[in-house]
């Protein structure tokens, strides 16, 4: 375990309407076994004692699964490590004397709340349009009534692993949510349970996505690179196929 010192340039903004700016802090001694968020905790403890409001940031599980954390570190959402959420990024990946620029997940559709916190509720609004199978509780058939090939189940799970963190949107120059939406559409389109509402779902979720101000996919793959769960861009291709098929061939309302 080593000790390093960093210079932190952190985006500070008191609220959605106020003007924000970068503020520079010295990290003080940081052990390399700490996680990135623990490094921020240490800074915040110091700020509180000095009477300054600590840096607001979202986090909860600190295990890389809830999707609550995330900031842009030196231009990269969730920082430099591949397939790693910010909470699972450890300080041993940084060098003594490094300067880190820490910003929120900026995007047209995500309003800033405070400091590093943004409003990702548009994701929930998209899911509400059709990111589900319309079955009520009870009266469902036996779980083994429809066999599902291992490969299909695994592929569906690959897509269903999305944690809804929003890094894909922050990484995209167009602020597109296609990776997030593609992951949900793929998860359900691959499974037999998702078939009855397949077309309706694609149309409704895409419509909502556009309405909420998310941009279009420019095929630059920034989202895939930023995604902590390795959600593949092939899900966007599937989303496009599903949408086209639904728009041109669907006989559903």
């Amino acid at each position: 375990m080593n000790i390093i010192h960093l210079t932190l340039k952190i985006w500070r903004q008191t609220g959605p309407e106020s003007k924000g700016s970068f503020k520079t802090y010295e990290s003080g001694p940081i052990t390399t076994a700490m996680s990135f968020l623990e490094m921020l905790d240490v800074l915040n403890e110091r700020l509180i004692l000095s009477g300054e409001e600590p840096v607001a940031f979202d986090h909860d599980c600190r295990e890389g699964i809830c999707g609550m954390c995330g900031s842009v570190i030196n231009g990269t959402p969730h920082g430099p490590e591949k397939k790693t959420t910010l909470c699972q990024l450890h300080m041993r990946h940084f060098k003594d004397g490094d300067t880190l620029v820490i910003e929120p997940f900026r995007s047209r559709a995500f309003k800033l709340v405070k400091d590093l916190i943004v409003d990702r509720s548009p994701f929930d609004a998209i899911i509400a349009e059709g990111g589900y199978v319309s079955v009520n509780t009870g009266g469902t058939p036996d779980a083994n009534a429809i066999p599902i090939p291992t490969f299909t189940a695994e592929q569906a799970l690959d897509a269903a692993e999305c944690i809804g963190c929003g890094a894909c949107v922050a990484a995209c120059p167009n602020g597109s949510a296609m990776l997030f939406v593609g992951a949900k559409i793929s998860h359900l389109a691959l499974l037999p349970q998702g078939q009855p509402e397949r077309s309706k779902r694609a149309l409704a979720m895409v419509k909502k996505m556009d309405e909420l101000g998310f941009g279009n996919c420019g095929n630059e793959k920034y989202c895939e690179k930023a995604c902590p769960k390795g959600i593949s861009i092939s899900n966007i291709a599937r989303l496009n196929r599903e949408f086209m098929k639904a728009a041109f061939c669907s006989v559903e309302e």
């Binding site: 999707g67 929930d124 469902t140 779980a143 998860h187």
Partner: protein
């Protein structure tokens, strides 16, 4: 206070059917006249909200996170149990019932646990229909894995993220109701108080975590699904926002708190690295299938593990428990690790860790086979510690993981406050003194999808509820109390942060009300606790104001509640002078130093009733009656 469990009469296997048959129903057209508040959107809260919405009730759902998809349930890894007997290995509803009662060391109600086992199969059907991608066999049918405490393979899973997939299923079902308008979401809202009018739970007071606004909400019933209180120990495997606030405030409004001292400590977590550590990460206990636990025989031996010869290693679990070896239950493994470290044989920088060594398994089966089995876990370990468990043994240490205690509820899942229902980890109901792996997810979903929707209608059918609005004085009083408390926290302006106090509380509980407890230690902890409370209210520092997003203030409020709650936890541990399940009282052990249960005196649920600020709470006992199974002492020798 009367503890009426309201268990239906009749044979165990018929109770739930009988209840549903005899219960009064609400006409579908009338359901829309009822408002229900659900606090919490983890598995229990989301599944309840979805189902209540489908049935036609008007539901308001609250959670702390920015989205209901992030509730702490999302972190569950291993799986969910059900008695489907897919493997034809002799499983049945009765066996799942028996294993759960026995696993809980005979401190849970037969009727509740039997119902849980009955419902378990329907849960899997429900989740599959929602599109939860469970693991499958090559033929396309559902796969199972084995878990501790059972000799059958009955655990359904989705890689190492079963909780995530189940929660996303429940969340999506709930979002469908949001779309229909039956469920209204209130994310980033924290429940601050319960409002009780004419003895009925009729609303809550919340704080909007973005604007700081204190709001009130009236309803015909309130459902708490706010999870467990493991974070009382500061370090635990729980998510950072997990808290006792909602249940604690309900307790202060009259809901009895049951078995608060029953806390599960998981043996295989990544050890603590330093004082700045914010949480502990669980490593699946499946690792103990191939890993061997050891420490150096000589205390204070600081050589790296590879330099310690075989003869100087103590495989203490294999030695002490020859038949179960490294696979002894969670509590036994945890206690033994602590014992070794207490003797100075702990390893790593802090001396608070033991080795979990895969070298033998790798020699026997090859590195590839071991990587295939545990690759994910090894990667996770390496990501956090920077060490490769193939090259050197893992280090592990126990950590607080799950709380069996919670608000007391009857068979209907209703607390001692009529109209207040409690689901999931927040209640005490099904796991007795110890929870088996993969049964918390089962319980949360059973409560939310199936039990509450049936029992709440019987409550509405029977109660004459007068219309109430938030202009009722009880709401004004609760709002004032909440505001006063926030003001108090903000105005102390002392010199210590909320986390600093939280760490101190955590250590105190860990040392004296953790894996092993004794009277002297518990009494000492009580004294220290009141000093800590004093210090907290005189020397706390909270920056900012109550009028916007203020995470320091949020934490301060939760820590204040943990400090108050800890007292009841310790009192409960003191009063239960037996060892049972996870609660090991050093005074109550066998000649071989194993836990000794005392059924004659302690076969009961302990339910604590609030008596006012600075008053000792009253202990009520609900006797546990076992009509269908024989009590036995656990033995793993």
């Amino acid at each position: 206070m009367q503890l009426d469990h309201r268990i239906p009469s009749g044979p165990l296997t018929e109770k739930w059917d009988r209840f549903r048959f005899e219960t009064k129903l609400i006409n579908p057209a009338n359901k829309r006249k009822f408002e229900i508040i659900v606090v919490g959107a983890g598995l229990a809260g989301a599944s309840a909200s979805a189902t209540l919405g489908e049935l036609g009730y008007n539901v308001k759902t609250f959670c702390i996170q920015d989205s209901p998809r992030r509730g702490h349930s999302i972190a569950a890894q291993g799986g969910i149990n059900a008695a489907k007997n897919c493997q034809n290995d002799g499983d049945s509803i009765w066996r799942l019932f028996y294993d759960t009662i026995k696993g809980g060391d005979f401190r849970a109600r037969e009727a509740n646990v039997y119902r849980l086992a009955q419902i378990s199969n329907q849960i899997i059907d429900q989740c599959v229909a929602q599109g939860v991608p469970f693991a499958r066999e090559y033929g396309g049918l559902l796969a199972n894995r084995s878990f501790g405490g059972a000799q059958v393979s009955r655990t359904f899973y989705a890689r190492g993220q079963t909780g995530q997939q189940l929660l996303l299923g429940a969340y999506s079902a709930m979002m469908r109701q949001v779309k229909t308008g039956k469920v209204t979401l209130h994310p980033r809202s924290e429940m601050m108080d319960l409002v009780v009018i004419n003895g009925q739970a009729r609303g809550i007071v919340t704080r909007n975590l973005i604007t700081g606004a204190i709001d009130s909400h009236a309803a015909d019933a309130v459902v708490l699904a706010t999870g467990g209180y493991g974070n009382a120990y500061y370090l635990s495997t729980n998510a950072m926002a997990s808290n006792v606030t909602a249940t604690w405030r309900a307790y202060k409004r009259g809901a009895a708190f049951a078995n608060p001292c029953f806390v599960q400590i998981h043996p295989t977590c990544i050890p603590v690295h330093g004082t700045y550590q914010s949480k502990l990460t669980l490593m699946s206990e499946s690792l103990r299938n191939d890993g061997r636990v050891w420490v150096p025989t000589r205390s204070g031996d600081k050589r790296p593990p590879t330099e310690i010869p075989e003869a100087e290693r103590d495989y203490y679990l294999e030695k002490k428990y020859p038949s179960f070896g490294n696979l002894v239950p969670r509590d036994v493994a945890s206690r033994n690790a602590k014992e070794q470290c207490d003797q100075g044989k702990g390893v790593g920088d802090t001396g608070l860790a033991v080795y979990l060594d895969f070298a033998d398994a790798i020699n026997r089966l090859g590195e590839a086979a071991i990587r295939q089995k545990y690759g994910n876990l090894f990667d996770m370990y390496e990501k956090i510690t920077g060490q490769d468990p193939v090259k050197e043994p893992m280090t592990i240490y126990p950590a607080v993981h799950y709380t069996m205690g919670g608000l007391w509820v009857d068979y209907h899942l209703m607390s001692t406050v009529p109209g207040l229902f409690v689901l999931g980890e927040a209640n005490f109901s099904d796991h007795g003194a110890n929870r088996l792996g993969a049964s918390a997810l089962m319980q949360g979903l059973a409560d939310g999808y199936f039990v509450l929707p049936a029992t709440i209608s019987s409550h509405f059918a029977k109660s004459a509820l007068v219309p109430i609005t938030t202009s009722h004085p009880a709401f004004t009083e609760a709002i004032d109390t909440t505001k006063g408390r926030i003001q108090r926290l903000l105005s102390i302006n002392g010199k210590r942060t909320p986390d600093d106090f939280h760490r101190e509380l955590g250590l105190l509980l860990w040392d004296h009300c953790g894996m092993a407890r004794n009277e002297a230690g518990l009494k000492l902890a009580l004294d220290r606790l009141s000093e800590l409370r004093e210090k907290f209210w005189h020397n706390l520092k909270v920056t900012g104001s109550g009028a916007d997003l203020n995470q320091t203030l949020e934490r301060a409020g939760r820590v204040a509640d943990f400090i108050e709650f800890a007292e009841v936890m310790i009192l409960d541990a003191l009063s239960r002078q037996e060892s049972c399940g996870c609660h090991f009282r050093e005074e109550s052990q066998t000649a071989e130093h194993e836990a000794k249960r005392i059924d004659d005196t302690y076969s009961h649920v302990s339910a604590w009733q609030y008596q006012g600020e600075d008053q000792t709470p009253t202990l009520h006992k609900e006797p546990l009656v076992f009509e269908n199974i024989q009590l036995s002492q656990r033995s793993y020798k």
